[in-house]
Amino acid sequence: MPLQPILLTVQLAALTTAILLLVGTPVAWWLARSRARWKEAVAAVVALPLVLPPTVLGFYLLLLLGPQGPGGWLASSWGAHTLAFTFEGLVIGSVLYSMPFVVQPIRNAFEAFGERPLEVAATLGAGPFDRFFTVALPLAKRGVLTGAVLGFAHTVGEFGVVLMIGGAIPGKTKVLSVAIYDYVETGEWATAHVLAGGMLAFSFAVILTMMLLEKRLARAGT
């Protein structure tokens, strides 16, 4: 039972989800509240990975992370020359790739409760930060939870992008999906079955848990 790819995948998905919650929540907030006319253009950019083939993202990432791109420039600050084939590179790719899965549910949640609770909080003297953390965020917790679960699950399920920028280095970039691909290709079907079956069970459990949670929170919430 190859534990290393499993561990690596969990690490990648956990870190990606944490970053996405930190970055995605303000983005979702802005998308939900802003009256800027070009905000839907930003929303469209965030949603792009939903429709783009992973190969498009993989191709551009390979160039962006490489020595001629900003990734290479960044890497040169610690003496390396590319961010491709690194764990950090995979995190960057995963954050971009899973962004819509986190931002969209949180944005929906922010939009769902409307202006009123915030106006009430403002009349009661709550400042903007206070309103965000003690009113908006708790009201949107369902969306945040959904976003976190989907972001995590989607990163675990990522394949094309990782295959293109990873280089299948054990312990660094050889995540579960790539390991399964490898086992299938080399005819080691017994191991492939174990991992693939595990993924199937995991994915089912995630989706089921999320649906049940949603239902419970919906009952408790309103």
Binding site: L62, L63, L65, G66, P67, Q68, G72, A80, H81, T82, A84, F85, L163, G167, A168, I169, Y181, D182, V184, E185, T186, G187
Partner: protein
């Protein structure tokens, strides 16, 4: 209305099928090891010009094709990057016995295009680079050859941490081409036509000969176009192309 549109579209499609398919010309599907991509494209074009048949080419790693053929992939011919896979397929009853032959002998090169990192033996031994790209040695014979080179030069321990793997020799090539890996073990055929390409032709003593065998698969046994393609591959026109891409030819083959 929709019906009329549908019927005329159907007629047009049928007409197209009839007119683009001259009498006797057929289509056959050929699985081609990634290292042979460019040569195969040229050969397929010449094949169509000469016989009227069409060879539809699929590119990938040899190991990948093996798995697919075992799952009844609709390939009529396999141009592998090794001799073992066609032999195994024959043993599995998936290839036509007696149809195997060596169509090309592959040559391995160390290729690089990063300034200051010359692709040669000294750089490899000095280890002053970050990444060495290689095809997955378990599925790609050129990858396995690359591993042998490292073993025979005694560099396995020093360089294993620098290895990045492509799923086929095409991805190993692409990692170097995008500049993400400074060096890579690729096929001579991939770089020979590149103007100004800088590479080290790895001495043949450092790896086992890469005998690339072609084989007629069971799915192509009754396929005249598949047999014609294999015959064409053995002919002087195809051999000239194969040699131009830097491959060796089996004597008498």
């Amino acid at each position: 209305m929709i019906n009329v549109f549908f019927r005329s579209a159907l007629t047009a499609t049928l007409a197209l099928l009839v007119f683009t398919n001259p009498a006797g010309a057929a289509e056959t599907t050929v699985a081609v090891a990634a290292n042979f991509t460019e040569a195969a494209k040229e050969i397929a074009t010449a094949f169509t010009a000469k016989t009227g048949h069409t060879a539809v080419l699929s590119f990938g790693s040899t190991g990948q094709f093996y798995t697919q053929i075992k799952q009844e992939a609709p390939f009529a011919v396999l141009l592998a990057a090794d001799a073992e896979t066609p032999k195994k397929l024959e043993g599995d009853g998936l290839a036509v016995p007696g149809s195997r032959y060596t169509y090309a002998i592959g040559k391995l090169v160390l290729w690089g295009k990063t300034p200051g990192v010359p692709a040669d033996e000294a750089t490899l031994k000095g280890g002053r680079f970050e990444k060495l790209s290689i095809a997955n040695p378990k599925v790609a014979p050129y990858g396995a050859a690359g591993v042998q080179v490292l073993t025979r030069l005694g560099l396995t321990d020093a360089l294993t941490s620098k290895l990045v793997q492509g799923t086929s020799i095409a991805q190993a090539f692409q990692f170097v081409d995008t500049g993400n890996a400074e060096l890579g073990f690729v096929a001579l055929s991939q770089v020979i036509a590149k103007a100004g390409a800088q590479y080290w032709l790895v001495p043949a003593a450092l790896y086992d000969p890469i005998l690339q065998d072609a084989v007629l698969l069971k799915k192509g046994e009754a396929d005249a176009a598949a047999r014609a393609f294999l015959a064409f591959l053995k002919g002087p026109e195809a051999r000239k192309v194969i040699e131009r891409y830097g491959y060796g030819l089996a004597s008498g083959g």
